[in-house]
Structure formats: C-alpha cells, structure tokens
C-alpha cells in the first residue's frame, strides 16, 4: 500500500506540473468520473499537428491528479498521433505502481480526457472497451 503512494506520486499531487488552463485552447476536454466524482480538464495548444503546450486542471484523488500531472510532462512536442498512441500501460509505467481495478479509472482519467480532447467524442474510454 505504501507502494501505492510512492514519493513521486505524492510530489506530483502536492506540486502538480502544468496546472491551470489555457486562455484559448485549440483542444480541450473535461472528464468527470461518475463513480468517484474526480474531475480533470485538459487544454492543448496545437501547432503543425504537434502539442505545443498543455495545461490540466482538476480535483480528486492523489492517483488521478498525479497521473494527469505526469501525463502532461510526457506530452509537449509529441505529434497528435504519438499522443493518441499512449495507452494505459504508459501511465501505469510512469506511476510505477500496480493499481487494482477500482483505481485504474483514477489513473486513466487524465489520459481519457486527453484522448477525447484530441480525437473528439468518437474516442471510447479504454475502460469502456471491455464492455
């Protein structure tokens, strides 16, 4: 359990990177977890099909907020295709922990918001694909 709250996660939770909103985002999406109410909004500045800038804002548990913060570190400079290719495992690797099914939704909340922002509403959340 103490593993679930490794120092890097708590650092990102306490001092999140790229926190805030962009004034005129080229793409933006806010995702709310219906099960726990956690909320992540993610804004993008896009130029030449590459991510020029990113901000996230939100509220919720340490896992969802730290995972979103870590995600934003990975994104600047990526092409949209590269960003959309990021999967759940990439986030879990970054978190460096194994999370149970009830917390996976927390870990991927920011990722799903990003995919919706970049791919539009056609995107299906990773967790929904199983159904």
């Amino acid at each position: 359990m103490d593993d679930l709250y490794r120092a890097n996660i708590l650092e990102h939770f306490r001092d999140p990177h790229h926190k805030g909103v962009l004034e005129h985002p080229d793409a933006s999406y806010e995702d709310i977890s219906t099960s726990c109410g956690d909320r992540i909004r993610i804004d993008f500045a896009i130029s030449n099909a590459h991510i020029a800038d990113v901000r996230f804002d939100g509220q919720g548990c340490a896992i969802s907020q730290a995972a979103a913060s870590m995600l934003t570190d990975m994104l600047p400079g990526l092409s949209l295709d590269q960003a959309l290719a990021l999967d759940k495992q990439a986030i879990l690797d970054e978190l460096g922990i194994s999370v149970g099914p009830s917390r996976q939704k927390c870990a991927t909340l920011g990722l799903n918001a990003m995919k919706r922002a970049l791919a539009g509403d056609h995107w299906v959340d990773e967790d929904e694909e199983d159904f």
Binding site: C36, G37, G60
Partner: protein, 441 residues
C-alpha cells in the same frame, strides 16, 4: 450461538406462530445486557479475514451485513417452502403465502403500524419513494404546488420529486442545511411552509452526516399547513426504535438490506386512508380485482401496489431480520450506537487535522461519521484504509446538494452498526494515523 436450525424452522414454519424468542441468539446473555461480541459472532462474514486482515466493516450505511439466521431463512425457504404466492391452491403455495404475509405482519409490528395492510413490499427505499411520487404525487400535485424537501436528502428523495415537479409544473423547494452544524435551518421553516406545500420529504437520519433531524416538529408543522409528510427512514429504522403512529408521519420508506435483511427487500408504509385513495404504481398480475378488455378494477392495498411476483424469499428474510433486531431490542441497538459514537468522538479528537462533519453531540446523531483528514482526498483515504482491512465509503454518498452546502466534493465516511465494537474504532484511528503519515499531514 443458539440460533439453531430448529429455532429457525420454528420461525419460518407457517403452521406454527413464530415467536420473537425463536430467533433470539446467544447475544442476549444475562437479563437485558447484550453481549455485543456474541452479536458479531452471529454474522458469518466476520469468520474470514480479508486480504490477511480481519474485516473492519464500517460501511453499514450503504448496506448491512447479514446474520446467520437471515441467511439460513433464505436457504430454508428455497429448500423447503419455495412456491409462488397468492395463486396456488396447493399446500406449498399456501405455506409460502402465509410466510410472506407473516413477514408483512412482522414489519408492521417492527414500525408499530396499525395494520399490516399498511405495509407494502418494494425492492428498496428508492422504489418506495418512486411509488409515492408516481402514484400519490401524480394524483395530488398540480401546477403551482410546492414539494418541500431538504438539502440533506439522498438522491432517492430528490430525483423522483424533480421528475414529478417538472411533469406537473410544481416547485421543488429545499429546507437549507447549516454547513457549520450539519443540521437543518429550522428557522427557515416558517417562510418555507406555505399553504402551497403539498408534500414534505425529509430524511429521518442523514446518511451523509449522521444528523438526526427534528422530524416530529417538521411533521407537526407540515400538518398545520395540510401537507403530507414522507419520512425517509433508510438510516433510522435499522438503528433506533421507530414508531410511525407516535411520529405521525404519512409515509415511511426504508430498505431491508440496511437492516440485516437481503437485498431486494424494502418497505413503503403509508397511512391506510392515503393508500386506499391512491392509484396503482405498476400494472400487472396480483394487483387487480378484475380485468376486462379495456379496463380493470384494482385490488385493495397492499396488493394494489405489489404487481407481479414479488421478492418472496427476500421479504421473508426481512421478517427474520425484524425478529433478530427485535430480539436484541431496538433501544439496545440505539444505546450501543450511542456508546460507540461517544467512544469514536473521543478517539477522533486525538487525530490532528481530522474534521468531523455533522453534530458532535451523540444525542443528535447516528453512528455515521463523515470526515476529512487535512487534504487527504477521500478516495485515497478509502484505499489506504482498505489496505488495513477497513471498509469505508468515499465520495458524495448520493447527496450532491449536501456536498454543495458543505462546499466539499466529497467526504470519507465510516459507519458503525450492531456488530462493530470499540476495537473497530481503534483500528480506524490507527488507519487515520497511517494515512496522515503517508500524506505527510
């Protein structure tokens, strides 16, 4: 454990009148003193560890655990008495019908109803409220009328009234919550209780805050303006003596699964005059007197509101749960929860940065504690406690308006019931210290 199989057979055999003592257990040791450790032993879920730790179950507000006598009642029913009710002309069906109706009588006694004809079996409290909103509400609420509820309601006592108000052009008004005390702002009642108010819906004990609301006063004053009062007893009926005649409410709803009974068992109690005048809820078999090609006449209550095959075994299980709780005594249940709440509040005071929502006076609250520990998010709190075998709930507890009033996204919530002991409080407090340490608060 003296809740022997013979005792249970006696309780579920319709040919003999079951007595409350038939389900009395070792829990009742000497005189009226209750051995709460023996009560806990009545619940098989605690026989096994969860993830190598003893289970510390602090989520009875969501659903209670089930005593062996209730589990055995289901097994017994399906093994020896299973048949559909109210239709069969054979012995098995007659026996099952008698058991189902005996369960209704047990529920009626449990809440001190005048008659078991006032007890309608539903799936849960939610369905019971929807029944009232659909049947009584559509017949009695019109444009310009007001439905008055509180900011402390569970979504089950909000959404059905929103649907009704939207359909009828009625107004939905709220008695506000004072976030500082976690109590209703009763001084607003004068302004809110106009003669436009046709129904008042109020939660007896809050599932989000533990607050016991002054329902006697609300009922009295609602009746002064001619309004009907629906009491949401989901968190009171399992935990304290509730007497519908003494309270004077018009409807009472509660869920069996929160009071030791199976899921799928719930109750709507209504005053007979009101029920008699109400149109049906669901249409189908068992709720009619006579069906012609174009129209039907309806059965008397309670059958009028129980269309289709009901949850027979579950209702009989609820009857067994009423017997079980009655054998302990609801006053004793309440006394136990007051004692454990007192102890919990003392121990909580030792935890730096811990904030308890709702009243701090045990006379004003049930044993449900919403809390915040510094800025530890509730979801993380639940995960950390889970790793210690402690089951709590985190989030909005189906009470968004309460959370808005408190200006929080959610809370962590620990609730205690008859199988909890002071050592569960100790485990929780140890878990809180662990969370504080992990989060560096």
């Amino acid at each position: 454990m003296t809740a022997t199989m013979s005792g249970i057979r006696e309780a579920t055999d319709p040919s003999c009148t079951p007595t409350v003592t038939a389900t009395a257990t070792a829990a009742i040791a000497h005189d009226s003193a209750i051995d709460w450790r023996a009560v806990k032993a009545d619940f098989p879920i605690f026989d096994h560890e969860v993830g190598g730790k003893p289970l510390t179950y602090l989520d009875s507000t969501a659903t209670s655990q089930k005593p062996r006598v209730v589990i055995d009642t289901l097994h017994e029913f399906y093994s020896h008495h299973n048949a559909n009710i109210h239709r069969g002309l054979y012995a098995l069906s007659e026996a099952a019908t008698a058991m189902y109706e005996q369960a209704r009588a047990k529920v009626a006694r449990f809440i001190h109803a005048r008659s078991s004809r006032e007890v309608i079996f539903t799936r849960n409290a939610t369905e019971a409220i929807n029944l009232v909103a659909y049947s009584w509400g559509r017949a009695n609420i019109g444009p310009g009328d007001t439905i008055l509820i509180t900011e402390m309601e569970h979504h089950a006592d909000i959404v059905p009234w929103q649907i009704l108000a939207q359909e009828k052009g009625a107004t939905l008004a709220y008695i506000p919550l004072d976030p500082a005390t976690g109590t209703l702002q009763m001084d607003k009642l004068d302004d809110l209780l106009t003669d436009k108010v046709k129904l008042v819906g109020v939660v007896h004990v809050s599932n989000a805050l533990g607050t016991i609301n002054p329902v006697e006063e609300i009922i009295r004053r609602a009746h002064e303006v001619g309004a009907v009062v629906l009491l949401d007893g989901a968190q009171s009926v399992p935990h304290m003596p509730v007497d519908v005649q003494a309270l004077g409410c018009d409807f009472l709803v509660f869920s069996g699964h929160k009071m030791c009974a199976p899921t799928g068992s719930g109750v709507l109690w209504g005053r007979r005059e009101l029920l008699n005048a109400m149109p049906p809820f669901l249409g189908g078999g068992d709720m009619i007197r006579r069906v012609t090609m174009q129209s039907s006449t309806y059965a008397e209550p309670p059958a009028r509101f129980e269309a289709g095959t009901p949850a027979i075994a579950e209702a009989i299980g609820l009857g067994a749960a009423c017997d079980y709780l009655s054998a302990i005594g609801m006053a004793n249940v309440r006394a136990h929860e007051v004692a454990i709440s007192q102890y919990a509040l003392e121990r909580f005071a030792e935890v730096p940065g811990l904030h308890i929502f709702g009243p701090l006076d045990v006379r004003q609250r049930g044993a449900t504690f919403s809390f915040a520990l510094a800025d530890v998010p509730p979801h993380d709190m639940a995960s950390i406690l889970d790793s210690e075998g402690i089951a709590i709930r985190a989030g909005h507890h189906c009470c968004h308006p309460t959370m808005f009033a408190l200006d929080v996204a959610g809370t962590s919530r620990a609730s205690f019931y008859i199988y909890n002991l002071n050592e569960d409080v100790d485990r929780l407090v140890a878990g809180l210290h662990k969370a504080a340490q992990i989060f560096g608060v």
